[in-house]
């Protein structure tokens, strides 16, 4: 069991890939925003890649362990310490009963992941332990963990001393600039040529009005094709309005003139167009960016996006770990 001394800014229980199969009822997938770091953390403690762990946002929690465990911290650097002594990230760490783990403010990136050998053993809800706090489901109480919560744990595995191959650690940016791969569509034919050029050539700033449901972007205005202006009234009269339809996870959803990237806890359906979709292999970059960071979007084909997805999956394997004596 883990005793939560301080919950941190928004620390939530997540599993991978999350709550899948309920998109037609409006349930988002949830799960970790940076599943690359999340999966590596689980591998380090000898869990399955999807086992439930903790996602910490911008400021981490303080946790007390009541038995001996292996843990691993990946993702953003929140200066993790055990009993006030700094510990290494991206490697397996032994804790004993009574040890206190503290994570502070993120120095780089936005989300840190804590994997615990055996995983967090909360009751799954619709097939997943992932927390979808806006709807109060998943996790222990349906919300981010709070001071005083007790987190049950599964059966611990034996300690294996290992670390992530330093060459295969996700390259967190240091200059607040990210290149995000996108595929055009599904509604790319609503944007005119100049509008596409402007989207791909401009720098977009991540707004502070962003959370696990959507990332709002500040940038230039969009311009549209005739299709967006001359349409049946049931679409709604604004150019970006369309008859409500299903949203892909990662869609760049054009709400009026505000693009919103729909992320892990995002809506499944709605009445705005999606001119582009962020590819799954680029999601970790969204998960590690913070308000004020700048995005440039790079268009790739569906096939290339699928290739990048396979490459990322291949990096989330035990072959990315280096063992030690």
């Amino acid at each position: 069991m883990i005793e939560v001394i301080k919950g941190g800014l928004e620390t939530s229980i997540q599993d991978y890939p999350g709550r899948i199969g309920f998109w037609d009822q409006g349930f988002p997938q949830s799960g970790p925003m940076d599943s690359w770091s999340f999966r590596l953390a689980n591998l380090l403690v000898d869990n399955s890649v999807g086992a439930a762990g903790l996602e910490c946002q911008l400021m981490g929690p303080t946790l007390k362990f009541n038995d001996a465990r292996t843990i691993a911290i990946t993702g953003a650097n929140m200066t993790p310490m055990i009993n006030q002594q700094p510990i290494a990230m991206w490697r397996s760490i032994k804790v004993v009963a009574g040890d206190i783990l503290t994570l502070k403010f993120a120095l780089d990136g936005a989300r840190s992941y804590i994997a615990i050998s055996g995983g967090v053993d909360s009751e799954p809800w619709l097939g997943s332990q992932s927390t979808f706090h806006k709807a109060s489901v998943g996790g222990i109480t349906g919300s981010a963990i709070k001071d005083g919560d007790q987190l049950p744990l599964g059966t611990a595995n034996e300690f294996i001393s290992q670390q992530v191959n330093p060459e295969l650690v996700p390259p967190l940016t240091t200059n607040k600039q990210w290149e995000i791969e996108v595929v055009a569509g599904p509604n790319d034919d609503w944007i005119d040529k100049v509008g596409h050029q402007r989207f791909l050539e401009s720098e977009w700033r991540l707004s502070s009005k962003s959370d696990r449901t959507g990332f709002r972007l500040d940038g230039p205005d969009w311009t549209f094709t005739d299709k967006a202006h001359n349409k049946a009234p049931e679409h709604g009269s604004e150019p970006s309005n369309i008859i409500d339809h299903g949203y892909p996870l990662g869609a760049i959803n054009l709400a009026g003139q505000t693009p919103i990237i729909l992320v892990s806890d995002g809506p499944s359906m709605g009445g705005f167009i999606n001119p582009y979709t962020v590819i799954s292999a680029a999601f970790w970059k969204l998960g590690q960016s913070r308000p004020g960071d700048r995005y440039r979007f790079k268009q790739v084909t569906v096939e290339h996006a699928q290739e990048l997805r396979r490459e990322l999956d291949n990096k989330c394997q035990n072959t990315s770990l280096i063992g030690e004596k």
Binding site: I243, D244, H245, P248, G256, V278, R309
Partner: protein, 289 residues
Amino acid sequence: MIYPQAKFSPGGDRYILIEFGNEMNLELNFLGQGLGKVVKISGLKGVIETAPAFASTLVHYDPDVIRYQDLVLELKRLIKGLGSIDDIELPSRLIYIPCCYLDRWTAECIDDYREKICDKTPDAKMVAQLNGLSGTDELVRVHSGTEYWVASLGFWPGLPFMMPLDPRSRLTAPKYNPPRTWTPKGAVGMGGASTAIYPVATPGGYQIFGRTPVPIWDTKQSFPEFEQSICLFRPGDRVKFVPIDEKEFVDIEQRVADGSYVYNVVDYQKFSVSQYQKWVNSLDINKRF
């Protein structure tokens, strides 16, 4: 129109959007729902889930199992097999939802938006004006004067996307630009020609002008209506809004809280597409009642 050929577009590396047309009608919704259903029944390899909507279906697939182009071919084959809708007759529940129109809670939310984000015409007034109605009272009369068809669930758990079955109650509205960052739980509103109920406090883009005290999703499943699903509605249900005043809203809210509220669900009727079409064709749709 209904497209002669369904339109396929990629959504990143693991979604396909299939659009059947560009308007809102029952036939298009049956195509969207129908494809979702046959994909499920056929057990199409590599498909993870679907999200049918008014006139489209979104398919979530595993690119490690099936390639985009192969999935398009498989879906085309399934679409060919979807029969005509004229013979469709299906059980359809009628669910009465109390709604406090022109309520103070949505008014507060709109005031907050106008103050902090963007000064706009208040929602009810705007919808009335754009649809040539005499005022917000007529909006209430027209909006509550029809049964709504639950075309799909989405946006948020349990949120119903609905269209009016009586063409004389057809209204249209623009969606917010930019969207609201919050909406009161239970708010009733519309965008385009679609009407929705917000299950919880969420961001939103619809014009809002009413509020229901009745939960439409319930993770604790505290009422019998939620025994089979935590969502009250399912596609193919019909919804009728019953106008109530603020006092009654508070009263129902209290009964929901103490568990004594009784949902008004009628479950014996069948919806016949041909009968419905016959009735619609007999109407003078330019007349409001």
